[in-house]
């Protein structure tokens, strides 16, 4: 534990000298850390050059099986040749501009809403943005009006489906989770019991079971001739599942707010909802940003589980492409690496945004 304050005062010398000091302080400050550092460097040398060789030097982008057979490295040609199948699934080929546009709109709204969150004045625009955006996306995806041909949602797939499932999931799970968290803390026994039972039951089963029930069992309980759309069932399953987890995250936040705050609200004569909205929730929400984003990220990745009910999210369209022609099947590593890169892009952005948001919202405390 060398503290910066203990270093000799005055200029620290050239940048190379500073680097040596930094390395000594952080990488070689004990024999154990020195071994770890050397070991890690060796591991990187061992892993990275073969990866570059496989992924870049010896790889090909040419979208043909013949070209892929000739190279020893990665066959990015598989991704190149099937890019539209991977990104949009079985959506009719000539209409694929529609999911593309829907995706642009969706990402636009998401970025717009996220950008607005730290600024109190702009927050009121978030809900109207979604109220306009969701119908636009629905019209683009389904069609059937404005001269767009109707496309059943059994044809939706790829990145748009992943984004729709997760963003709609988050939007609906968030308020539901908040209500459940408040319900669990409620002094009314009926509401409290209901919330506890709901949360514990949902948290007690894996998402895959919820989806399986929604997809395989639920239709059997409906009256004859009534079918609820497969996608809708999956979406509702995801919402109900995520809400239970978010409820526990929010409860943690609510419990971290000292009791005095509740009492202060009461003594000011505020009603329950007023004190929640004005005093408790703003504090609680700020506390739970990291675990909430954690929930969102895991939920974004969990949407890939819809594979078990035959929906084609981004991961499953990779599989679809692998099976489009048996000759491509052996290039699955490339396909999954591509999907992983896209998932990483989204999840990492979410994590960075959470860090930014925490900093923004803490500005008040730092003053």
């Amino acid at each position: 534990m060398t503290d910066i304050a203990k270093l000799p005062p005055g200029p620290l010398g050239s940048s190379s000298q500073r680097a040596v000091i930094w390395a000594r302080k952080n990488l070689f400050n004990s024999w154990f850390n020195s071994i770890l550092t050397l070991g890690s460097i060796a591991a990187l040398f061992w892993i990275i050059p073969p990866m570059i060789e496989w992924g870049i030097t010896n790889a090909t982008l040419t979208p043909s099986i013949e070209a892929c057979r000739e190279v020893t490295g990665a066959c990015w040609g598989f991704v190149n040749a099937n890019l539209r199948l991977i990104l949009f699934g079985t959506y009719p080929y000539d209409e694929q501009w529609r999911p593309l546009l829907a995706m642009v709109v969706l990402v636009g709204i998401i970025i717009g809403s996220l950008g607005a969150v730290p600024y109190a004045g702009m927050r009121k625009w978030i809900i109207p943005m979604w109220l306009v955006g969701i119908p636009v996306i629905a019209i683009l995806m389904w069609g059937g009006v404005l001269g767009l041909t109707y496309v059943q949602n059994s044809y939706w797939g790829g990145l748009p489906l992943t984004l729709i499932l997760s963003s709609i999931g988050i939007i609906f799970a968030f308020p539901l989770g908040l209500l459940l968290a408040l319900g669990r803390q409620s002094s009314m026994p009926a509401i409290k019991t209901l919330s506890v039972v709901y949360i514990e039951i949902i948290r007690g089963v894996p998402l895959i079971t919820v989806l399986f029930m929604a997809s395989v069992m639920f239709p059997l309980f409906l009256p004859e001739g009534v079918t609820i759309d497969k996608l809708l069932r999956a979406q509702i399953g995801i919402i109900l599942f995520t809400a239970a987890y978010l409820a526990e995250v929010f409860r943690g936040g609510l419990q971290a707010v000292p009791n005095g705050q509740f009492e202060a609200g009461n003594s000011l004569g505020l009603s329950y909802w007023q004190s929640m909205r004005l005093i408790i929730l703003p504090q609680a929400m700020r506390l739970v940003i990291p675990p909430t984003v954690g929930s969102f990220i895991s939920m974004f990745k969990d949407t890939t589980l819809v594979v078990i009910i035959g929906l084609f999210d981004l991961l499953n369209t990779v599989k679809l492409a692998l099976r489009s022609d048996p000759a491509w099947t052996r290039y699955y590593v490339e396909g999954y690496a591509f999907a992983a890169a896209i998932f990483f892009l989204f999840c990492y952005s979410m994590a960075r945004y959470a860090a930014y948001l925490e900093k923004e919202l803490r500005k008040g405390e730092q003053r």
Partner: protein
């Protein structure tokens, strides 16, 4: 165990629904009203049903649905596809989410009866086999005593494997791997001596995944019967008839040598069988409740069974006709007479 209970409960509820699903003509009327056939297909099995690079469904199972649409609705494109997993397929059919299930489904007694299905034919005769490296020096499955076997956990594949080895008094070590890519990778890296799945699957794995296909051989023993075919829900016999005869028409056309290319010319044929099939001498369409051009459209738009097989199974998987050759050529495919 838990899974079994759920499935059993599901099967019972399916049967219950099937029982009160019995007013005739409901399925057919529904299809005519919406103007397309909702067809349940595999989420991706090359040659049977898989999306091509443009995202369009292709395969012999897909062609069945196209043939039915051509016969019933006059256009082979009036089909909407619902990709289904193995677990979902029967529920989807019974709940009315799909009109026909054409998803490499094995025709068995229990499925035909207690699940409330009507199988309308067999469009592919498959069976479980063994793939081995030639270096193993084995020429018959009976020499596999003590072998390590890579197998995907499935409904029947694993069971058949155990049954076969027990019946022969041999021992084996299963290596159960859920994902087909990992399972085949394990096999080709030498993790196990034998890979087992349906023969059609073995052939495609050998031709597409093997480092060198000649180093691997499929053993002659086929240890199970897997007659794959389309199924509809019980309760609408006319709909089942149309599905059944649309498939038979494709076979009958092959028997007569009628193809998508020569069907127009064949309309002038003197052969009374061809005349009946193509509606030149009327009666067949009327009996099915269709117009007389029904089979003509199937052959014109989809092709006969042999064409469909060539285009999908042979082209994608490199599989010869084998058991699926016409009965006149030593296979099992036999068309009931259209008369």
């Amino acid at each position: 165990m838990k899974m079994k209970t759920i499935l059993a409960a599901g099967a019972m509820s399916v049967a219950a629904i099937a029982a009160n699903n019995a007013h005739a003509g409901a399925a057919l009327d529904g299809i005519k009203a919406k103007g397309f056939v909702q067809c349940g297909v595999n989420t991706g099995l090359p040659g049977f049903s898989a999306a091509n690079a443009e995202g369009k469904w292709e395969g012999i199972d897909v062609d069945i649905c196209r043939a039915i649409a051509a016969a019933l609705l006059g256009d082979s494109n009036k089909v909407q596809y619902t990709p289904l997993t193995a677990a979902q397929r029967f529920t989807a059919l019974q709940s009315g989410e799909i009109d026909i299930l054409s998803r490499n489904t094995t025709w068995t007694l229990t499925r035909d009866t207690s699940l409330g299905l009507t199988f309308t034919g067999v469009n592919y005769y498959d069976g479980q086999g063994f793939l081995v490296p030639t270096a193993l020096g084995v020429s018959s499955a009976e020499e596999l005593d003590g072998a390590t076997v890579c197998v995907e956990p499935g409904t029947t594949t694993e069971l058949n494997l155990a049954d076969y080895f027990r019946a022969k008094g041999m021992s084996f070590q299963p290596v159960v791997i859920e994902n087909i890519n990992e399972a085949t990778a394990a096999f080709f890296s030498g993790r196990c001596d034998v890979y087992t799945t349906d023969a059609s699957g073995l052939a495609s794995i050998r031709s597409t995944m093997a480092p060198n296909p000649d180093d691997y051989a499929i053993l002659p023993e086929i240890i199970s019967k897997e007659p794959l075919g389309p199924a509809v829900a019980q309760g609408d016999e006319q709909w089942a008839d149309i599905a059944r005869w649309a498939q038979i028409a494709m076979l009958e056309a092959e028997e007569y040598g009628v193809t998508s290319a020569n069907v127009d010319e064949m309309k002038g044929s003197d052969n009374p069988g061809i005349q009946r099939l193509l509606g030149v001498s009327p009666g067949m369409g009327e009996a099915l409740g269709l117009d007389e051009e029904w089979a003509y459209r199937i052959i014109k738009e989809v092709g006969n069974y042999g064409e469909s097989y060539e285009k999908n199974v042979t082209a994608k998987l490199g599989l010869e006709r084998g058991l699926n050759a016409l009965w006149t050529e030593g296979g099992l495919q036999y068309a009931m007479p259209v008369r």
